[in-house]
Symmetry: D2
Subunit: 315 residues, 4 copies
């Protein structure tokens, strides 16, 4: 038996054929626009291509950046694709398939979290929370071996946990959401602010962005931090501190035994994790009187989302 | 079959014999000090007394104000009883019993939440959160029909959800915990501050506390609010607003379908719930694009904790 | 005797000849780039033109968007014009004049405040604070009939009064500055967030921006609010509340008898001032036990800055 | 010529005869209750006693913990003495004097600030702000050589500068006032919270308070910090950080060239001043592009208030 894993990203659709161990044995990546119909056609087309080599595809698992209903078929809404309002994504794709298989949709952060749970850093944990630190901040919750979706499919929106009343303006229309302080975008904001305030310390960062602060991007800050640059480290300390505070808030609700930190920003490893662990200790309620959750880096890599989507499609 | 329900409060121990429907058929209340040994003896004594009339007591369920480990026997620590540090409460009580039955311990807010779930406002919900607004703010989480305890028995410490960085100093040593803004104590603080700032509007509240602001207590504020007093209503609007904000934060994690609000302060009903519902709408992420949890008052009354403890003792 | 008033704005330079009552008797407006040399030449050119009709110009008063040193000649730095770092603006202009007169430079918000003090809403006050609510938030302080500049020319940077720790990111590199909550930009942010969260109430605002939220501008929000639109009024209530909080903070330092509110946003009058007055009452320390400052709209109009610059040039 | 300086404290009245250099040449201290009449009689009695040795007393300068009107005679209100509501303190004292001299009243923090300006660390400054870190946080502002009182005598209430929206509850009825974060009381709160959260590091502090956290007082924390104790230093770092943030806020309004830090807590010197200076640098707007105010410890000692009152009485 095989499954087809689909990851609908901002600019491209990645599709992979997975075996029974969720290992990707064949994969394609196709650039695409944020157009619902085009995306559906792309997926259906790649499914047909996969059928040429694999005649036992049992299901299609789709990882989508949007809120997915409890039916695991309908996208409630998405910040990226305007047409995805109360949108039967499974149905639209299934309609285009020559050979019918079920299409199971799941939120992208949930897919990544599940991927880490079954094949990555989350293996063996009881209650696991994954935080994906990318452009924004995604969340996934696995409780007693099951992905927790909430009553309406809106659980684990951890990037929108309110951390600061009247805080930084979030794209969602609220203020002070966690992802305004813990994300690649936040990393850039902290670094840019530091450059403005401490121009004498900004030589390396300015060099990396060719003297144009507006062009400063996360990977440049990561590189500077890894070289020991003081402002680069400052920016990671800030998002690390807020990551720790965010986890301390989550622990007041869920008391998990494991936090897995993923996303592009985690490439720096302990440069992010160490300040996060320290802040977690400092802001956890009753810190001195309780066992602490472990805080570790993700292991399943960039394919965690596809692996998770594949696995979930036949559960 | 019967069970014995025990509620260890700040100044008294309440004990009740419950039938198979968790109905309390006989009960005693004994004043006691915050002394661990005395409490154990009191419970054992009342158990012997209960045995005189009921020979089929299958278990003792204990509701305790403290953090209870996953073994449902050991109290990790308690703000009230100094000796309860890593304390085998079940073992100590069991040692004193002439006829051995298992003693099952659970956190008091969890007991009240479970009581509401099985016999009160929570019946029929899928994922329920209970917030007990008393002197402090307690929390309980029921997911898919099971009480959720977390990995170390520290889940649902919702009174210590961090709401305001650098906010009001909490007894736990952190700042800005939810219970500093949502609790009977918070109600008093908001009312006292309002008296100080708006002395001309304070006639009724000053009357109720006999002119001594320091003597102002929650029930006086409730009474004033129910009479329509402007400062009384102001104080409830404030804790109501923060209750709504707190629930919005919890929904970012758990996305439940029901919030049950209990504790002494809920006696005023919609005077608390209406501002809470409005703030929940205002601060919930993606408020306009998702189904909303219901927010209702508790129904099981003051005995919710005992009912819950009884029911849990034989699960 | 006449004076020449110069207002260096973001996209144009306005120049006016003022009589002894600071009345503008002749004026020119010239578009210009943010280039220091071009600006100097433009000013010198218009001065020559003014000389053709007025042979008794005693001084040139310049209103500049930047921090001006105590010498009233040097611009410390400016967010708009890169070359203005420790820049002798007076000297550069004086060098270009055929007939030498002194050039006196002052910060633009200070000029507007002084203009209001000598010829507008500030007349007769003892200690006056002006807040200019434009794209950002400017401040001016007049104490006992004198413009207060501070020890280094940096006083009255009231737009950067810190209001919210960890708050909205400011262009200055800090967080939570007052101008992030009180300004035309803040008005737009509040309105856009409200549209996102309450789409059903957003009909009128969406109409005014032709369905493109990104195109929403302050004057559209002002118009909607004046028509009674609920989201338009919401946005003004928010910046009004923060304006009141900001004034309450300033009063803890300065205890003035008058606040004058100017800038483009004040066109809506009490729609801004009423929520500001209410919040001022609510957040002023010892509000019930002290005389309150008056809070009024500016009266000197768009020329307040030039009038102020003219008057200051010969003081 | 001599003057009589009077300092009305919480539990005692101190009176001193000062010569023309404001040097105290004779002094008495009398315990007293917070009763207005008794205080007046005590002052008048000591004045008569002073007259026995000094026949050229020209005026009585009174330092009072309360808000003093611009007439320098009337106390608007006081947190300590209930009868002082709109109370003609000068008149009441003058009525009791056998030989009439003018009685000039000034707020105690203003007196201390003026004392530092004329005879202490403030000498030679242009615009000086004094912050008195005692039980609470007092403020005084000297601009261009004059004590600045504001339009209604309420200026320089710097302890009530709002620093944290929804922050720590202040006795004044507001939240987040500076003195909740910068004061001896704040020092105790930070230390107690640290003890609760880090019991293993609390050995020395627990020793100093004889094992009873509630008895921990500021001087014990000072002592521990001076010995290098980690929690003692932590508590000073916290109030130091907030002192720096408070000064950064004041600089956005006043841009002074000097901050003088006084009060009992300053006895630790750089243990408080160093974190304050660092936070000032970090939170000052345009920190890298402007001259910075100096931040120094007070020098005039405990008598600064009396010295200031004496000097002001004949100005």
């Amino acid at each position: 038996m095989h499954t087809l894993a689909v990851d609908i990203g901002g600019t491209k659709v990645a599709v992979g054929v997975c075996d029974e161990n969720d290992t990707i044995v064949r994969s394609w990546t196709v650039p695409t626009e944020n157009d619902a119909d085009r995306i559906n056609e792309t997926i259906a087309g790649l499914y047909e291509k996969a059928l040429e080599s694999f005649d036992d595809i049992a299901a299609i698992g789709v990882s989508a950046a949007g809120n997915v209903k409890q039916d695991r078929r309908t996208v409630n809404f998405s910040a990226n694709i305007p047409a995805w309002i109360n949108y039967d994504l499974s149905g639209h794709i299934e309609d285009l398939l020559s050979k019918k298989v079920p299409v199971v949709v799941e939120n992208d952060a949930n897919c990544a979290g599940w991927g880490e749970y079954v094949h990555g850093a989350g293996k063996g944990s009881t209650n696991m929370v994954m935080l994906t630190v990318g452009t924004g901040l995604g969340g996934a919750i696995v409780l007693n071996g099951e992905l927790y979706r909430g009553s309406f499919g809106m659980a684990a929106e951890l990037g929108h946990l309110p951390m600061v009343p009247d805080g930084d303006t979030c794209g969602c229309g609220l203020r002070g959401c966690a992802e305004r302080y813990v994300s690649g975008s936040a990393l850039e904001r902290f670094a840019k602010a530091a450059i403005r305030r401490r121009p004498k310390d900004a030589t390396r960062l300015m060099e990396l962005c060719n003297g144009n602060v507006e062009d400063l991007r996360g990977p440049m800050i990561s590189r500077a931090a890894q070289e020991g640059d003081v402002l680069g480290l400052y920016a990671f300390n800030k998002i690390g501190e807020w990551l720790g505070r965010t986890m301390a808030a989550i622990s007041a609700v869920l008391d998990p035994d494991l936090y897995v930190i993923g996303g592009g920003v985690i490439a720096v490893g302990d440069i992010l994790l160490e300040p996060a662990r320290q802040a977690y200790d400092r802001f956890l309620q009753a810190s001195a009187y309780r066992p602490h959750a472990q805080i570790v880096a993700a292991q399943a890599g960039q394919d965690a989302g596809m692996i998770g989507a594949a696995n979930l499609s036949v559960r």
